[in-house]
């Protein structure tokens, strides 16, 4: 997946238009509660060269929806947004082009569903290690996520 250019917080969000009236107040508000946050991030331990997954929850506190559109990480040769699903008793995986995060909602990426897939790990991921993954949203927001590594 291609990485999008980093854009800084000040011009991040779709709240930007409203902010023109009173930029100072908006800036303070934005710093107090960032519209997009990531919680519960963890990665599954795996050997070097293996394929594994990162799970997390994206919370959107803003009044407008956003869309996760790109995922990058140095830890693997390829990183993608994926989903597992059962169809007639058979498990499949499919690539997701983007993941919408509705306004004032949260989207969990948990085992047996949507996940960030790390393909061909550049190093082994061992318990208590940390993996850094960068999420890019259509609004321009980028979030650097530190995911703790847990046992397989």
């Amino acid at each position: 997946m291609k990485s999008w250019p980093k854009i800084f917080v000040a011009c991040v969000s779709t709240l930007g238009v409203a902010a023109c009236d009173r930029p100072a107040a908006w800036l303070t508000d934005a710093q107090a509660t960032p519209p997009l946050t990531v919680t519960e991030a963890w990665a599954r331990a795996a050997d070097s060269g293996a394929t594994t997954a990162v799970y997390l929850t994206v919370d959107n506190a803003a009044m407008v929806s956003d869309t996760l559109s790109a995922v990058t990480s140095d830890v693997a040769e390829d990183v993608g947004l994926h989903i597992s699903m059962a169809q007639n008793g058979t498990m499949h995986m499919a690539q997701l082009r983007a993941l919408p995060v509705p306004a004032q909602d949260s989207v969990p990426l948990r085992p047996m569903g949507a996940h960030l897939m790390l393909t061909r790990l550049r190093r082994p991921l061992v318990e208590d290690d940390t993996v850094v993954v960068t999420l890019t949203f259509v609004s321009g927001t980028t979030i650097e996520v530190r995911a703790g590594v847990r046992k397989p």
Binding site: D78, S84, A86, M91, H92, L118
Partner: protein, 194 residues
């Protein structure tokens, strides 16, 4: 938790205790149980531990899953649930064998699958059937497994059965475990089959 919900749980537990023999299984019971199809994996010549013949595993309960080691989400979740079930079973785990059968012969070697399964629990068995053994297995077990995505690269994924199978001591296929069943629930089912 609201009180109505709590009440429902208490009632549920009471009903379950009252009708212990009728309490539902977490997996899907096969009734009547059928003789399990054969399963033979020759494995690596140099390593007898990578060989497995299901009919020779009589006297133990066998939990089987058809997956692959490049599976990032579903297979490791199933195997972690197995590990949790095994811990929950404690001493009762004697006589229960957990076996992962790879459906990805191009990438999975006997050594790789064995090492992969043992990451979850040192007692777990990981098997790598050859292409021919796998074709026979899929026919006999009536299961589907096939590569998906870009198979020209090494990064394809493999569609595989969503459930695990449980074969009892008499060699009968008695239970299918859907992927949503958690470790503790699997342990309960296995305890009833012992």
């Amino acid at each position: 938790m609201d009180r109505r919900h709590l009440l429902r749980i208490i009632t549920g537990v009471a009903l379950a205790l009252a009708a212990c023999s009728d309490r539902p299984w977490h997996g899907t019971r096969l009734d009547p149980a059928l003789a399990a199809p054969p399963l033979t994996v020759a494995g690596a010549l140099a390593d007898p531990a990578t060989r497995f013949v299901l009919v020779e595993a009589k006297e133990s309960l066998v939990v089987l899953y058809f997956g692959y080691t490049h599976c990032p989400d579903v297979c490791p979740t199933m195997l972690s649930d197995w590990a949790r079930a095994k811990r929950a079973l404690g001493a009762d785990t004697l006589g229960v064998r957990f076996v992962l059968v790879s459906v990805d012969p191009p990438r999975d070697t006997p050594e790789l699958v064995a090492a992969y399964a043992q990451q979850f629990d040192p007692a777990f068995v990981g098997l790598a059937p050859s292409e021919i053994e796998l074709a026979v297995l899929m026919r006999d077990w009536g299961i589907a497994a096939y590569p998906e995505g870009d198979t020209r690269t090494n990064d394809y994924s493999v569609a595989h059965p969503a459930q695990s199978f449980v074969v009892d001591r008499q060699g009968r296929l008695v239970l299918m475990i859907p992927s949503g069943v958690r470790g503790e629930e699997l342990a309960e089912d296995l305890r009833r089959l012992r």
